[in-house]
Symmetry: C2
Subunit: 432 residues, 2 copies
Amino acid sequence: MTTPTIPPLRLGIAGLGTVGVGVVKIVRQKASLLAQRTGRAVVISAVSARARDKDRGVSLSNYAWEDDPVALAKRDDVDVFVELMGGEDGPAKDAIEAALACGKDVVTANKALLAHHGQALAETAEAAGNVIRFEAAVAGGIPVIKSLTEGLAGNDITRVMGVMNGTCNYILTRMQDAGLPYDEVFAEADALGYLEADPNLDVGGIDAGHKLSLLSSIAFGTKVNFDGVELEGIQRITIEDIRQAEDLGYKIKLLGVAQMTGRGLEQRMTPCLVPADSPLGQLKGGTNMVVIEGDAVEQVVLRGPGAGEGPTASAVLGDICDIARGFRLSTFGVPAGELKQAAAAQSNSPAPFYLHLSLEDRPGALAKIATALGEHGISIDRMRQTRHSDTQAPVLIVTHKTQRNAVDGAIDAMMKTGVMATAPVALRIETV
Amino acid sequence: MTTPTIPPLRLGIAGLGTVGVGVVKIVRQKASLLAQRTGRAVVISAVSARARDKDRGVSLSNYAWEDDPVALAKRDDVDVFVELMGGEDGPAKDAIEAALACGKDVVTANKALLAHHGQALAETAEAAGNVIRFEAAVAGGIPVIKSLTEGLAGNDITRVMGVMNGTCNYILTRMQDAGLPYDEVFAEADALGYLEADPNLDVGGIDAGHKLSLLSSIAFGTKVNFDGVELEGIQRITIEDIRQAEDLGYKIKLLGVAQMTGRGLEQRMTPCLVPADSPLGQLKGGTNMVVIEGDAVEQVVLRGPGAGEGPTASAVLGDICDIARGFRLSTFGVPAGELKQAAAAQSNSPAPFYLHLSLEDRPGALAKIATALGEHGISIDRMRQTRHSDTQAPVLIVTHKTQRNAVDGAIDAMMKTGVMATAPVALRIETV
């Protein structure tokens, strides 16, 4: 199906950090392979970044230079604007809007931008017949957006789950493997350059929450609703919790879950317990994993690197090749104007919970806790009291299936009894 | 991007077994979802199967009936011929050729047909601008062909591996979990209906070999070369080997591996040892897994159901939706005329091997074996002698990295020493 008369697809690349340089390298090194696969030459017309003279390990002399990404986006010799600058507002947004206003297609890796402005940008793009592609924004090198929108297009998706922040998974698995406390591993990760400038984007679950909100939209045909994501970071996870969870047959993961319920779209990005012998439980280090469940396909699990030059550039190139091949797809898989407004459901699907309580060591303390649970309709599956200091008695409880609001109610009641030494840890046990 | 003026995409479905019925159900039940996702109505015009009056649990009264799949393929009211009959020659091939001759697109789940005739069919289709899609032919519901041809199009693929016959994986994991011998689990699988009419297609590795030959072609841009696949079935795997492998930290899998080497395309579908804690090692039951390694993406692992009504129909629908969306792609990812003729390399990449020998229990026996190995340049990493009957001494050896032809040479030499009680088992240990 090579049609040699098709003119080249001309890229303008804004942002020459790790990923931008990775994309430049692939376009340069694999020119004939890309042409053979897409039936069309893929070339770079122009690039843009903050510092022109920085040595990036790749020659840029054949490409026009623009200091201003908006100017790059408007160039007549650019067909596809490739946005790899990042940032949820500011220059990235301005430049994408400029590109769309000029009738250009857009490829981006910018999850924060799309989580906040995806709907508006999709409407603008689709009104003019342009596409916005963002495979690299979610789960790095894993072709998860393509799998959801295309490969699994015959399914009603029932649930999407994922470990989508490699830094958090690195921290949690390193705590477990090395027996180190959170603060120490956090410092290690910082020294290794694994953390965003604002670490809360990683460890607070925000980055992963952005990704989940995009997957939810695609999976369920709903408008992106990042504000509807229940977010909880990993900062309060202790090595003690990791050890106890392991003893019970579980691992602790920062797990994203999106599912449509009768009460609306449930989206949460929170630390959860998952079975140690499940694919999610076995995931180590910075690797990402997405679990897709559909009514026809049952369950598909995708695993791969969540970041890095090569994997992220691979995802960007997948989008570029699709555009070169003439594949035109709505931004979120169905036309933006047909995406439903999904009411955010509080994350109330029933599940067992893991509770880690520290009680004052005094007579009747446990009875008060048990009463608080019972009064909120929560029954206990397993309970154990662990190492016992002079003044505090740590108690671990696995409940039978209950709901988050019942757990929250029971915790409020417990806190009023005066027997709690510290605020309890309550983690959902996700069935995977 | 809905364009309501596009006429419906009209399907003709040949073959109404499990998968065909699954496709009919999805097209009937999800009409509005499919139209929303593809921008076009997807409808069934006509169907064909052997027995018209059989109750299939789904109403076919709205569709024209053809006894002859060739007649179905030629109908004017069919845009896409969906071949779900199976068989590497005969009616399936005749009907696909008829559909292509009439300028229709083809979706098929027929791995045997494509493994033998894929190149010719692709050339015919592409000469007329038609597409042949076959996601359902490889690894059931997993969108692996889409991931390779599209999502990872920016990569030079370096290796593809996979467990792609669920029946074999069921047998091997059931042997392990229940401690049962091969013959007994084979009989169980037969009673459960897990085996093909000719069981050698499953346990002899032929079915999985067909799938591997298709993935190789896509991954490396080469003509399908099923005859170049080194095939070995699981019939000789004993519970003793499974236990010993486990003791050494490995699992035995019927593993397909394709990689391009300096000597040509290496394709093998053979029982291998893989690390027990790797994703492949952890795979249980009928689930399939494909591991894709590319120079940019590093490693992506895809896991999902390898068979069954829903998962296979899901894959067929993915292809149909792509055609409805207007996505046109060469059969094997690059134009059929540009696929390279790949010389089949003997599977000679160096690897450690597991050897299970039964020696006559007499003085000097082990020395003769050690000599045979040494003379073929094979050094021993680990050796152990296991349970000792009166007349035979089972010896297990893990070699350092060596090549298959060295192992074969050593085995020939061992057999000539007169100390071997039975032919040895030699399994490659694959690095994953």
